[in-house]
């Protein structure tokens, strides 16, 4: 069934036609799906969600007016399945499809297929997606339109020899990038001729996996560049505007982690040039809708076109915050054929905005993505200047099948330092227990003097590694006291709860007084923190569903948020978070791990992509053993020590669980000893 499309001239008698969008299908999940639905609701547009098996109980499903199941958890069979999404669009009578970001957002065929079904694809024309999606083509176009570009090789000859020769011509370091790549996937840096081939092979492998295309381009790798991008918007009437730039320089694993708008330290002159270059780029491809033109910027504020993202970006809220716009609303209106709500001279830059991406990942373990339940989740309270863009609630699971982003924390302030202060204040109130997150890392990062000064670049994290990853400190005596108090009070609460719910609430047995006949029974909790004597008093109070420990330690009052899960006490205060673990009795710790010790283990659950060794192989420390694909990322498993492979425990294509030993590795010395005995 084709969607109902009504065309009528506007009241002003303009010669253009608008199409009505009263129902929109959001072909995405997580926070962006929720984000789109919020704007849709505001505009009175009904929303339709699609969901996979893994998302049956997800927030975006609950928020939508209607929701349709589209298949199993792997995205290839659900969110990436064009047929299924289109079928739902037709079945639900949706007038338009909003693709969000990722998934089908930059898929030409999908945009084309929507058009053929008479459904509006909320995004640019498929020709623009195609032109911008292929990096070599996009650079030709931009070059022709007078947008500055950076040197590189975008040729057809994909032989190793040719690519390596081009790399030498451009000069190391070079970036090897999948032509159809994006989001850091299929992208590698080769620093010298010697590691070029390994990096090339790895980039190809990942690209094949992610995009089913392993055509590579080589370009100059600008050392310590800044990543600056301009939000542009075009309509069907030939208008295009820019909504100023964002700085997304601070990245890890080539993925953004903290973004801000406007870019710090940029003169109005450069800002205007950037914006105008971006608009030129958009106009060169007759751009319609929301797009982002990415530039790399060197220390002298020279900028070069990198690529154009033909979608609404993850970090779009910071642009909204400084311009007072709702870009999803713009998208819906422009897609319906309306003119841009504001023209360039009406768009004012006001204040400064930050976005911090809160990820389920382990910063101390190379930002390894994680998954698991959000056992405890409390957030700062949202207001006009504080936005929490999320697709999960307490109790939800961060699924291993999709992007591990938990939320985006977006704040606005009158100027950069006000916004940064606000960001840090809110980050401390963003408390998560259940899985590793990057919140503490974001706090270290946003509190770094160089970051505060606006001296950002894509090499920020490696440059300031020592400051950003301070050696973990043991919790202070006061913290341990708080934790101990928290545990005791929790026990008392359990006791009270138990007695209150029993049929005999006043029984002196329930009083937990520890009374013994003629014996003074004191349960002494002796807490020795060095030689200090600490005086601790306190109470637990509930506020807004969270427990706060109102306590006094040696006369100092504080009220950290208290979360006790399993054997760990989590304390969140305005000074940061700390964890105190209670030793688990050995009988509860379970039987010690058996199996191959001293081998390499899977860092997380995933699929073994490639096995590089076989039994009997000699390896030295750091040699690659296997390549694993997990959380959509490629992980190389390296030998933890030198030795001989005794047994390979997994074959290519098989699934390995987290911490599963992958190979049995015998140290050479061990073997020598073994044979001499």
């Amino acid at each position: 069934m084709a969607a109902v499309i009504l065309s009528f001239p506007t009241l002003q008698g303009l010669r253009i036609f608008t199409q009505r969008i009263e129902k929109v299908l959001i072909a995405n999940r997580g926070e962006i799906a929720c984000r789109v639905m919020r704007s849709a609701k505001k505009m009175g547009v009904r929303s339709v969600a699609v969901y996979s098996d893994a998302d049956t109980h997800s927030m975006h499903v609950a928020m939508a007016d209607e929701a349709y199941h589209i298949g199993p958890a792997p995205s290839q069979q659900s969110y990436l399945s064009m047929d299924k999404v289109l079928e739902v669009a037709k079945k639900s009578g949706s007038h338009a499809v909003h693709p969000g970001y990722g998934f089908l957002s930059e898929n030409t065929e999908f945009a084309e297929a929507c058009k053929q079904e008479g459904i509006i694809f909320i995004g640019p024309p498929s020709s623009a997606i195609r032109d911008m999606g292929i990096k070599s083509t996009s650079k030709h176009i931009m070059s022709a339109a007078g947008v500055p570009i950076i040197g590189g090789y975008h040729g057809e000859d994909q032989s190793n020899e040719k690519l390596q020769a081009e790399a030498v011509r451009i000069g190391y370091p070079v970036m090897i990038k999948a032509v159809r790549g994006g989001g850091g996937k299929g992208m590698r840096i080769a620093r010298s001729d010697s590691d070029f081939l390994e990096q090339l092979e790895s980039a190809r492998r990942e690209a094949r996996k992610s995009f089913n295309d392993d055509v590579m381009l080589i370009e100059k790798f600008v050392e310590d560049p800044r990543h600056v991008e301009v939000q542009v918007f075009g309509d069907m009437h030939g208008n295009a505007v820019y909504l100023f730039e964002r700085d997304c320089s601070v990245q890890r694993r080539h993925q953004k982690i903290i973004e801000e708008a406007p870019a710090p330290g940029i003169s109005p002159e450069v800002r205007r040039k950037l914006g105008e270059a971006a608009v030129r780029a958009a106009k060169a491809v007759n751009y319609v809708g929301a797009g982002t033109v990415e530039f790399i910027m060197d220390a002298q504020h020279n900028f070069y076109f990198m690529e154009m993202n033909t979608r609404l970006q993850v970090e779009h809220p910071v642009s909204e915050m400084i311009t007072g716009t709702d870009l999803v609303e713009w998208q819906l209106r422009v897609a319906a054929g309306e003119r841009l709500p504001l023209l360039q001279e009406d768009i004012m830059l006001r204040g400064h905005s930050f976005e911090a991406r809160i990820y389920a990942e382990d910063p101390n373990n190379d930002f390894l993505p994680g998954a698991g339940p959000l056992l405890h989740l409390s957030t700062p309270s949202p207001d006009q200047h504080t936005r929490i863009e999320t697709g999960v609630r307490e109790g939800d699971e961060v699924s291993a099948h999709y992007d591990p982003m938990i939320a985006k924390l977006v704040v606005w302030g009158e100027d950069r330092s006000a916004a940064l202060k606000k960001l840090r204040y809110c980050l401390r109130q963003y408390n998560i227990v259940g899985l590793n997150t990057n919140i503490d890392f974001l706090l270290n990062l946003s509190g770094h003097p160089e970051f505060e000064a606006g001296n950002v670049s894509t090499s920020f994290i490696p440059q300031h590694y020592a400051d950003l990853f301070p050696t973990p400190k043991a919790p202070s005596g006061a913290t341990i006291c708080q934790a101990a108090l928290g545990l005791i009070l929790q026990e008392r609460n359990h006791t009270l709860g138990f007695t209150q719910s029993s049929t005999d609430p006043f029984s002196p047995f329930g009083s937990s007084s520890g009374w013994r006949n003629n014996i003074l029974f004191n349960r002494n909790v002796t807490l020795q923190v060095g030689d200090e004597v600490n005086h601790v008093t306190g109470e637990v109070e509930m506020e807004g569903g969270a427990s706060f420990l109102h306590c006094t330690v040696n006369g100092v009052k504080s009220r950290p948020k208290l979360v006790i899960l399993d054997n760990t006490v989590h304390l969140f205060s305005t000074e940061g978070s700390s964890q105190v673990s209670v030793p688990v009795p050995k009988y509860r710790a379970g039987v010690g791990g058996s199996g191959a010790q001293g081998g390499a283990v899977a860092p997380m659950t995933g699929t073994i992509e490639k096995v590089l060794v076989k039994a009997g192989d000699k390896v030295t420390v750091g040699d690659p053993l296997m390549v694993m694909i997990a959380m959509k990322m490629e992980h190389t498993i390296r030998a933890p020590k030198s030795g001989v492979i005794k047994k390979v425990l997994f074959s290519e294509g098989s699934q390995a669980n987290r911490h599963a030993p992958l190979v049995e590795l015998v140290e050479e010395e061990e073997q020598a000893e073994g044979s001499s005995q």
Binding site: F498, D504, P505, P508, F509, G510, S512, N517, N518, Y587
Partner: protein, 445 residues
């Protein structure tokens, strides 16, 4: 101030008892990585299900069963049976004490009765949880945890150490699916209006000096509220309703010897409590029933029998505290041990015997004097004094609450100031058992 020495003595005794088999034995025990029995109990307890706990103390004679050990174990099981309390046994024992086998093995209420009781309790739906803490009776290869968990199937769970065993016991109790059904009304408890430690001054240590039992009641019951029943009739027995820790109680206390009126009033009150399903608390301070021709003629014997019948037949929970003297038939009328109160406690100033030492010595001396007179022999005052002295001394010794408690004639000597707590705990435990309708016997009219 002598009463303070009495209380101090109590604490000294308890301190000694708590040290178990002495410093050396305790050190040996703990050096094996084992917890002391009271430590085990401390780690086992929480405010959940009320249980009876029997824990062997291996620091005392290797935890073996002496005759009094058997008696104590059986009494614990009796408490479990009467009050429907799950039993937890923390076993750390060498079994029957061999040199005393004749006193612990053959008879009905000897060692075998423990297992008989376990089977019976279990058949009544009273759960039995046994944790063999520490080393088992036999050597590891004969009957260790490995054998019994893996091969014989004798045991259900494998514990790595004491803490683990206690953890498993707690898990087992959690899965008993036990719910206490309170069949009485409960109210929010209030503290008494008067401080409990004033009891020391009120009672004193001279049993001959009388005190008003209402002074005691006022320091035990909720809000010091006591609805007295028949206050002006038979006033040597005080009866009335109160609450202790919110539980309803009918209190019967002595204010002097029992007369016919007092006994009839007591009987009436017990009947009321049984009809209303109100637990009874006896505060015993009694020299006996009134004697003398006039009272015999007035039928004191049949009136006393009425009260004894009522006490014996009442099937509401009965709890007795001996707060002063407990002599003769007064002990019966006021629910002594023979009347199976759910719990019986003694204050450290109290005395228990068939009659007072002086009185007993006089009776015996009179008999001797009469015998001598019949034989035409002289019985001088010196001889009489010499004869009476050891009798008085012996009664003094045997009437002591410690003599009683050591023989398990009671369930413990308590600090008077803790009476409210002890009664509250006892009532709470007693109310686990479902109520049964009282059927009184024939009252002698």
């Amino acid at each position: 101030f002598q009463i303070f020495f009495v209380i101090l003595l109590l604490f000294i005794y308890y301190f000694l008892i708590n040290s178990g088999g002495g410093e050396k034995a305790r050190r040996l025990h703990t050096s094996r990585g084992k917890l002391l029995p009271r430590e085990r109990i401390d780690r086992l307890l929480d405010p959940g299900v009320e249980c009876i706990i029997v824990a062997n103390d291996a620091t005392v004679k290797g935890g073996t069963y002496y005759p009094i050990t058997v008696k104590k174990h059986l009494r614990a099981q009796e408490i479990a049976q009467q009050n429907h309390l799950p039993c937890i046994y923390l076993v750390d024992s060498g079994g029957a004490n061999l040199p005393r086998q004749a006193e612990v093995f053959p008879d009905r209420d000897h060692f075998g009765r423990i297992f008989y009781n376990q089977a019976r309790l279990s058949s009544e739906g009273i759960s039995q949880v046994k944790a063999a803490t520490g080393e088992e009776v036999s050597a590891e290869d004969l009957g260790g945890a490995d054998l019994h968990c893996k091969k014989s199937g004798v045991t259900d769970h494998y514990a790595l150490d004491d803490n683990h065993a206690l953890h498993l016991a707690r898990k087992t109790v959690r899965s008993l699916n036990y719910r206490k059904n309170i069949e009485v009304t409960i109210e929010s408890p209030e503290s008494p209006l008067y401080p409990a430690d004033e009891l020391y001054g009120i009672v004193g240590d001279n049993l001959k000096r009388n005190f008003d039992v209402r002074e005691v009641i006022a320091r035990i019951v909720d809000g010091s509220k006591f609805d007295e029943f028949k206050a002006f009739y038979g006033d040597t027995l005080v009866t009335g309703f109160s609450r202790i820790f919110g539980y309803p109680v009918g209190i019967i206390g002595n204010n002097g010897v029992l007369f016919s009126e007092s006994a009839k009033k007591g009987t009436h009150f017990i009947e009321l409590c049984c009809q209303r399903n109100i637990p009874l608390v006896f505060l015993q301070n009694i020299t006996g029933f009134m004697v003398g021709r006039e009272y015999e003629a007035g039928g004191i014997a049949k009136d006393g029998a009425k009260m004894v019948t009522a006490v014996a037949c009442a099937s509401v929970p009965k709890i007795t505290v001996i707060i002063g003297g407990s002599y003769g038939a007064g002990n019966y009328g006021m629910c002594g041990r023979a009347y199976s109160p759910r719990f019986l406690y003694m204050w450290p100033n109290s005395r228990i015997s068939v009659m007072g030492g002086e009185q007993a010595a006089t009776v015996l001396a009179t008999i001797t004097k009469d015998q001598r007179a019949r034989e035409g022999k002289e019985f001088t005052a010196e001889q009489e004094a010499a004869m009476k002295e050891p009798i008085v001394r012996r009664f003094e010794e045997e009437g002591s609450p410690y003599y009683s408690s050591a023989r398990l004639w009671d369930d413990g000597i308590i600090d008077p100031a803790e009476t409210r707590m002890v009664l509250g705990l006892s009532l709470s435990a007693a109310l686990n058992a479902p109520t049964t309708k009282t059927r009184f016997g024939v009252f002698r009219m």
